[in-house]
Symmetry: C2
């Protein structure tokens, strides 16, 4: 027996996913049962999965435990959404069923029209480096695509191939036991971070109808470009880099400098900063309370221990970015955390820009690298009145946080506070009031997304029930005989 070439492996996996799609797309009850079975099988191997991921990624079991629960919880949430036992009875169709009957108020010809979302076809999912469970083989993209009725081919991230294989084996066996073909969840091995051939073949394979990606801006744009060059372009949903902004009002700093600094430090250091929602640019007034806040934050970062990062190349990229920031004019290193030896070891860092304008030059305009994400436990504090936030020319991000005092609401004579809040409406997918950006609730009203370059598809969310809509498109049945309508669009449907 010979091992298939990578090209053959991608082609075979995509072909099988295509074959699995037709049946899978038409059996929501079996989909729900299968997703529940996969969640249960993963729960039964929780210890193995968490310890394998901890060994490969250097994330701690304590960090991975809630991520594991989010992975299985998301599988179960989507199972419930499409008709599993957990569905609240008044819940509307996740497939946006709509019925416009003949005779209802109308413009144009008075046809009976009924529409709902249908799945696109096999979906390629690119596992992320930093969430081996929640954005890995059985993470949110896979769970939502499977629930939508798509089959999935996962290209695992090279940072944790053993975790990927382990989860894939468990999920595939559970799906088969539940009566579904194992081929509805394909797996493409990728252990060399410099080898993009499998990724390219996957995105350009004719059977693939959509792509989910979580990673860097260049990575996301490269995949989007490949997808758009196909003879039939397909949608790519790329969550890319995010330099999250945290704005602290002078009143908040005066009242709670230490508490806010401690929250920010914990947020920066959680999972050693390897999170897309980590605070990136922190804006604080150049007054004494702001100084208190910066000093306390610097103390916390200085007191942090060195740690291994997700992979040696993640550490190297982090080190390069730190050097770039440190080399910028007007930037001082406010704190550096402890170090440790080893090819993946990093230290936390806090930079401070005390004055954005030096000799008539705006440091953020002349040095745009200051606006870019640093992937790792680092942040830049900028000493600036919050109504000057626009001076920095920051790009949109996943989140926009504001720390304030409740008494500031309604006493905002010059509109400074309002502007600081509303800035988030135009530049982020989520506005956080008196809280850190890390920690994403999985719920209907969550928006995990944001304007370019945080994502390439600001109209969507990667977290919560509505993530299912990414893998679908609407179809309308006009004057269809009742027996030919999908269950969800029949007059008897309880879901409309």
């Amino acid at each position: 027996m010979t091992t298939p070439s990578p090209t053959e492996a991608v082609a075979d996996t995509c072909r099988l996913a295509h074959e699995a799609f037709r049946d899978w797309s038409q059996t929501p009850a079996r989909r729900a049962k299968t997703l529940d079975a996969v969640a249960a099988a993963l729960d039964a191997r929780r210890g193995d999965v968490v310890s394998t991921a901890a060994e490969e990624t250097a994330l701690t079991p304590d960090e991975l435990a809630p991520e594991f629960d989010r992975m299985t919880g998301t599988l179960r949430m989507f199972a419930a959404l499409i008709g599993g036992s957990g569905l609240p009875p008044d819940r509307r169709s996740p497939f946006r069923a709509a019925i416009s009957r003949k005779g209802d108020h109308t413009l144009g010809p008075n046809h009976d029209v009924r529409s709902m979302l249908v799945p696109l076809g096999p979906v390629a999912v690119f596992g992320s480096s930093n969430f081996p469970l929640a954005y890995g083989v059985c993470g949110g993209d896979t769970a939502s695509a499977l629930a939508a009725g798509c089959s999935v081919v996962v290209k695992e991230h090279p940072a944790h191939p053993r975790t990927g294989r382990l989860i894939h084996g468990i999920a595939r066996a559970a799906a088969t036991t539940a009566g579904s073909p194992g081929s509805l969840l394909g797996y493409i091995e990728n252990t060399d971070p410099r080898d993009f051939s499998a990724a390219e073949q996957l995105v350009q394979h004719p059977a693939i109808r959509a792509v989910g990606f979580t990673g860097s801006i260049p990575g996301g744009l490269a995949i989007e470009s490949l997808a758009s060059e196909r003879s039939t372009p397909i949608p790519v949903f790329a969550e890319m880099g995010s330099n999250n902004v945290v704005v602290i009002t002078p009143a908040a700093a005066a009242a709670r400098a230490e508490q806010i600094a401690d929250e920010l430090a914990a947020s920066i250091l959680q999972r050693f900063g390897q999170q897309c929602t980590r605070p990136g640019t922190i804006i604080v007034e150049p007054d004494e309370h702001g100084t208190r806040l910066v000093n306390r934050l610097a103390d916390r970062i200085s007191a942090s221990a060195g740690r291994d990062m997700l992979a040696p190349w993640v550490r190297d990229a982090y080190a390069r970015r730190l050097a770039e920031i440190e080399a910028c004019r007007g930037v001082r290193l406010a704190a550096r955390g402890g170090d440790m030896p080893g090819p993946r070891a990093g230290s936390a860092c806090l930079f401070c820009v005390d004055d954005v304008h030096i000799a008539g030059s705006n440091l953020f305009h002349s040095q745009p690298t200051l606006r870019e994400e640093v992937f790792g436990p680092a942040a830049i504090v900028v000493r600036l009145p919050i109504d000057r936030l626009g001076d920095l020319g920051l790009r949109p991000s996943l989140t926009h946080s504001i720390y304030f005092e409740h008494r500031e609401i309604g006493t905002d004579a010059d509109g400074t506070f309002d502007a600081a809040v509303n800035s988030g409406v135009h530049t982020a997918g989520r506005i956080i009031f008196n809280g850190v950006p890390t920690g994403v609730r999985v719920a209907e009203a969550m928006v995990h997304g944001g304007p370019f370059p945080a994502t390439n598809r600001p109209d969507t969310t990667a977290v919560g029930p509505r993530a299912i809509e990414r893998w679908c498109r609407p179809v309308c049945w006009q004057n269809a005989p009742k027996s030919l309508l999908p269950e969800e669009l029949k007059d008897t449907s309880p879901r409309y």
Copy 2:
């Protein structure tokens, strides 16, 4: 006073639209009032608008009358949707308001999160050649974008500049009278069909945040490409070419050959075939009943009169496509309608392919031009068993129609009928049962869209209330003080 250069005109109009956006986006009640006022002002000038459009486009007043009603009706529908007086009280938010309260079942941190769609910013709308009213200056794209809270800059189609200016003048005056800035609806003149400079400048202007386009495949792709090359890419919603498929079962032809032929002929000839939903490829069995149907259809086309088309260049493009089809091997001209003199005059045409396979060669594979849309009053009948539809390799389209007999349902031993229906689920945005594809109802369940190349965004509809979502993206408020929430997300909101 000097006339501004085209470049200056585009820049000024976009700048003013940007200035108008902030206020407009925050006042839904005024938006509703303004849209209603525009509809009323247009109604008051109905005669002028219809006669001007008839002169410019050669569409008849009878053809333009329902289109006029659809234009004003759509403006009023969107006014009602966002809170005008016509809104049914149980109507849910068109902005997809969602509230996940603290304490509700959750995964991850238990924050109060609330989300809704917010408008993107100024939108560029490219008026279509063939619907000067319903897809012109105050057509569906403009109405939905204005309702969403976006300002709009229309680039009018060069086929009917007088109609565009007239509608724009009426709308702008009505908006001003209603207390809104006229600049929320900008207008870019374009009278030369070979001059794309204004279009390019508009799509690349930094103030523009989304584009609506109705036209050809090359036009749509060119605009999408321009939009993706911006430093901040913006979404383009392009409705492009559609070669609509009509499948007729042998039983339907046996029972109703003449009736079906008459319906198809009327659909092909309506508005002289200059509709994106016009039947393109008609599949009918190579049996005696199919022959009856083709002969009757050919009679109807032969009996049709020559007519002026939308513009000389539309006629020339139509004539070129007819020549391309006629030159194909295995294609016969089954009927040609009457002719008339003049630079815009065209004749209806019916082509027939009696046998798709000639000497082992598939005519549709060796001559892919047969799969492409002919924009004008023409169709190709293919004599083929309906279970061989896949042989043609047709590309997806806006619609997929099937004529059948009700008694065929449930007696489909070999699955032929099911396959012919379900083919539409995978290749079209709307499946029509026993009807023609022309005639688009404006209603919630309508899907006017479809897979590439019918559109570049199969996840959206250009018709109906949900068209508003194209101009928006979701934003989430996390743990926001109640007084800082948008009205639609407050606990007291009647719309959630």
